[in-house]
């Protein structure tokens, strides 16, 4: 029987690349694709895949909260988190959320097949770079990553994190209400609670918070002009 894989990434071009990579492996099939976290949860519940590959930086519902929601629905889901960010915080959050694999997007062509194989064999997989980071953190701080550590967003509920991401992405309360099938009044209440809990006074504070806590990701432009020419190569 084939191993069925669900891919969740907001870039179709990345999904194409991942699909091409995974389908070269005999006995594996990509059973579905999702372009954001919410769609990933829906499709996972419909398709019941063996492995789910989830990008961290997705709109509407980021990959870390997607992982949390998926495992709330079914703790047996096997999830690999795929990310452009190799920050200690993202690694900790991914582990805390319950991901069983962590692969950097830049290393995906090399590591993703090994990661899926590991999960297929009921093991976990972390890229060598991630192992190095975790080890460095262990040596520096004298402690290892623990699932019992306090999460980075201790004061926000899952619903509040979802709403924070949607507001930080530029949605109005009305739009958030529509996306989450809630009343505008309910969203407004959540919004007030979020602002109060975090002691924020403006949506700008919330955007900064969302970026710092990986609820949304931004790509910075390259630094201003560097000396061009063969010497710069």
């Amino acid at each position: 029987m084939k191993l069925r894989i669900l891919l969740a990434d907001d870039h179709e071009i990345v999904r194409r690349g991942l699909r091409a990579l995974l389908e070269k492996h005999e006995g594996w099939e990509v059973c579905g694709e999702a372009s954001d976290g919410r769609e990933a949860v829906e499709k996972a519940l419909q398709l019941n895949p063996d492995v789910i590959i989830v990008d961290v930086g997705m709109p509407n519902l980021n990959g870390l909260d997607t992982t949390r929601q998926l495992l709330q629905h079914d703790p047996h889901f096997k999830i690999i988190v795929l990310t452009i960010t190799d920050s200690d915080q993202v690694i900790r959050e991914a582990l805390d959320a319950g991901a069983r694999g962590f692969v950097l997007k830049s290393d995906a062509a090399r590591d993703l097949v090994s990661a899926v194989e590991a999960l297929q064999n009921k093991r976990m997989f972390f890229t060598p770079r991630v192992n190095d980071l975790v080890l460095a953190g262990f040596l520096e701080k004298g402690q290892t990553v623990s699932r019992n550590e306090a999460p980075k967003l201790p004061t926000l509920t899952a619903r509040e994190r979802e709403i924070t991401q949607l507001l930080a992405e530029g949605n109005s309360s009305k739009e958030v209400a529509s996306l989450l099938n809630l009343s505008t009044k309910t969203v407004e209440t959540h919004r007030s609670n979020i602002m109060r809990k975090l002691s924020f006074h403006s949506i700008r504070d919330l955007v900064v918070y969302a970026i710092k806590n990986n609820l949304i990701q931004i790509e910075l432009p390259p630094p201003p002009k560097t000396p061009a020419g063969p010497a710069a190569a």
């Binding site: 071009i13 999904r15 830049s106 432009p221 002009k225």
Partner: protein, 139 residues
């Protein structure tokens, strides 16, 4: 006539995705790949592509700097940016650097074929995502 394309992006998985898309077109050939701007400049010399599909943010030499070098050295080469940056300012900078095309990565599957078609005929092709940088809403 076959259009010979060089793909430049620091993520192999993105190059793979672009390649599967471009190779669906019978008259186009992906003749090589590079993972940063400096390697793109080297490979352009060796492979003489007709079109280069170039990312902006890359290690060693970014796409904008590579584009400036390439335009000086190979005036016939057409450069098409495929980038994460959904920004009119970045698009302007790319065109000023000498690119003929600009496509946002999130829409690449939709826009890339038309963009390569256009730039290979020395026409300009630019497309930003419909959702621009979010406005900050104070309610």
């Amino acid at each position: 006539m076959t259009i010979r394309i060089l793909l430049v992006d620091d993520h192999p998985i993105v190059r793979q995705g672009l390649k599967t898309l471009l190779e669906g077109h019978s008259d186009w050939e992906v003749i090589g790949e590079a993972s940063d701007g400096a390697e793109a400049v080297e490979k352009a010399k060796d492979l003489s592509p007709d079109v280069m599909v170039l990312d902006v943010t890359m290690p060693r030499m970014n796409g904008l700097d590579a584009c400036r070098v390439l335009r000086r050295q190979y005036p016939a080469l057409e450069i098409l940016f495929v980038t994460q940056h959904d920004s009119p300012q970045m698009m302007r900078e790319a065109l000023e650097a000498g690119a003929r095309g600009y496509v946002v990565k999130s829409n690449a599957a939709r826009d890339l074929l038309a963009a390569v078609e256009a730039v290979s005929q020395h026409r300009v092709f630019t497309a930003l995502h419909s959702r621009t940088v979010p406005e900050l809403r104070e309610e």
